[in-house]
């Protein structure tokens, strides 16, 4: 089981208490009061309005407005409507959804019940990545408890509202985190993303209207219902309210999870909370939001961790997975590891993505070996630019961005490899 976060806030406040994972422990801490309030005192529209006013943005990586997304679900539908809880968490550097499942499964389920009420969904498919066996067990246990005590099923909290939750385990494919890849996988197929439109709200799981939200997104919802949208907006920034759970990894003294308001400065997270770089070494670069997001160099860490500020520096919050690299780090090796991942995980449907990820990795690997050609950097930039904005899903962009970021800020590392015909960073991490 994961260690509780080093810094907690409303999502993770009770994660040090093992009982919080059980129904009784959750109820003792005020759990399911928000669901009761929503189902018995509110209308679906007033729930959607409240979440809209709170300004909650999806925490799965894209940051789309949650209330707005819910409002896309057709009000009248002769087909059943579904929700999907995206628990496929596989973005390198991310491990927040895991702790939410391990330590707070009922918080997720309560968020699901409220979202189901707001959108009129009859069933939620909670799709957990296959490797997350223990977190999936915790969620399944919580689902069984919730059914037994009337928090899920036919007549939830005696309100007349019915909702089912089905847990499905994935089987090891990053692309199943992309929402339409997930839908295909849920239907028992290869997880190859669908062309959009139609969007899931019209044609989603099994062809039915569907809303997909991330585990953390659902977890915020009960708190918004309980404490209101104004309270939620007291945390975070004007454009990005609330907290998120940052996962800090790599070269820091205290790697781990930190629940902090959005807009907390990146340097504060790294140096004050995570204890800075150990061994008296200097920091070289930081990837702020999971492997898909472009890197920032040491001189640009005074940035509030919210998309409106990160965008100015050509990167994004992504999943809040912060990866810290010290001065020994070879950025060509970093590019090599990341480009290998994307080459391996491309689903292969789109030529630009399939070929582009392959070429990028091949060229980067050759540069690292000392066999790089003078025009390799130009080729890399050209390949990366052709991978953007033209494919079925955003995976291809997500594969291009980190390489572009590394070349933007650490081009000299690449040039030195080509010039010296070897890797000039003997102390860097092993490849």
């Amino acid at each position: 089981m994961l260690k509780a976060p080093y810094v907690t806030n409303y999502l993770t406040e009770h994660f040090g208490d093992d009982a919080f994972g059980t129904l009784a422990g959750y109820v003792k801490r005020g759990g399911y009061q928000a669901a009761r309030k929503a189902l018995t005192e509110m209308t679906p529209d007033s729930v959607i309005d409240l979440v809209k006013n709170a300004g909650l943005q999806g925490r799965g990586g894209a940051g789309f407005g949650t209330g707005l997304k819910w409002s896309f679900m057709p009000k009248q539908s002769d087909k059943p409507k579904f929700l999907v809880c995206n628990a496929d968490e596989s973005e390198p550097g991310s491990f927040k959804d895991r702790i939410l499942m391990e330590r707070g499964p009922h918080q997720i389920l309560e968020g699901i019940v409220i979202a189901a009420f707001a959108t009129g969904a009859v069933k939620t498919f909670l799709y957990v990545r296959g490797e997350y066996a223990f977190p999936a067990d915790q969620v399944e246990r919580a689902v069984a408890e919730a059914y037994a005590k009337g928090f899920l099923g036919k007549n939830i909290l005696k309100s007349g509202f019915a909702h089912d939750v089905v847990v499905q385990r994935g089987a090891g494919a990053y692309i199943c985190g992309e929402e339409t890849g997930l839908l295909e996988s849920l239907e028992g197929k290869k997880g190859q993303p669908r062309k959009k439109p139609p969007f899931p709200a019209q044609y989603g799981a099994f062809g039915m209207p569907t809303t997909v939200n991330n585990v953390e997104t659902f977890s915020h919802v009960p708190h918004i219902i309980n404490k209101g949208s104004e309270w939620f907006r007291t945390l975070g920034t004007e454009k990005s309210p609330g907290t998120t759970i940052f996962g800090v990894s790599g070269h820091v003294a205290r790697p781990g999870l930190y629940e902090l308001p959005l807009g907390t400065r990146l340097d504060e997270i790294i140096f004050e909370h995570a204890g800075g770089v150990p061994g008296g070494r200097k920091l070289k670069g930081v990837i702020p939001g999971g492997a898909s997001m472009p890197i920032l160099p040491a001189g640009q860490l005074d940035v509030p961790m919210a998309n409106e500020f990160l965008r100015e520096r050509k990167t994004m919050l992504g999943t809040g997975g912060i990866m810290v690299m010290d001065e020994t780090t070879c950025m060509v090796r970093v590019a090599c590891v990341i480009s290998y991942f994307f080459r391996d995980e491309s689903c292969g449907q789109c030529t630009q993505c399939r070929e582009g990820t392959g070429w990028m990795h091949k060229i980067i690997e050759r540069i690292e070996r000392g066999a790089g050609q003078p025009d390799d950097i130009g080729i890399l930039l050209d390949v990366a630019s052709k991978m953007e904005g033209q494919t079925i899903c955003a995976f291809s962009d997500a594969a291009a961005w980190p390489v572009q970021g590394l070349l933007r800020h650490f081009r000299e590392d690449f040039e030195a490899h080509i010039r010296e015909r070897k890797c000039p960073f003997p102390e860097s991490f092993e490849l």
Partner: protein, 155 residues
């Protein structure tokens, strides 16, 4: 029949949860792996019958996902994470040392069919690197000695 009656019962219970039977194909494949460790051609045939699809459609799905196998597997799958956060904290060194310890290369199985050593992409344990997955179990905050003794303790 290769798929046991008990597994068939579990598969039927999964099928009942979905609006279309095929939704239960991944759950069914997990059930079959728990029983046999892989999907044999006979198994694929039986699954195809259960789901009213063609055997190649079953195998196509099997081959798409890393955790499904169409051939018999060693008793244990040991996967060391080599994605960036783990690499920054010694993940690749750990993998190299375990290769030497087991006398195999990454991707290979030991001659006694006990362990397949592999690498894995990020497993969501980045702050507790280096780490490895042994079958369904995560082992975190490893050092080489600790990892070796975990492998030595496998049957």
């Amino acid at each position: 029949m290769v798929i046991s009656a008990a597994s068939r019962e579990k598969i039927a219970a999964e099928i009942a949860k979905y609006p279309a039977p095929r939704g239960a194909l991944l759950p069914a494949l997990h059930i079959v792996h728990a029983e046999h460790g892989f999907v044999s051609p006979e198994c694929a045939q039986e699954l195809a019958e259960l789901f009213a699809i063609r055997p190649f459609e079953v195998l196509e799905v099997v081959s798409f996902y890393n955790m499904f196998h169409a051939t018999p597997q060693p008793r244990h799958q040991v996967r060391v994470c080599t994605n960036l956060p783990c690499s920054l904290r010694g993940g690749r060194e750990l993998l190299r040392r375990l290769e030497a310890h087991l006398g195999v290369k990454t991707g290979e199985a030991t001659a006694d069919g006990r362990i397949r050593l592999g690498h894995e992409e990020c497993l969501g344990a980045c702050a507790y690197a280096p780490m490895m997955r042994v079958d369904q179990q995560y082992h975190e905050d490893l050092d080489v000695e600790k990892a070796k003794s975990i492998l030595d303790g496998l049957d």
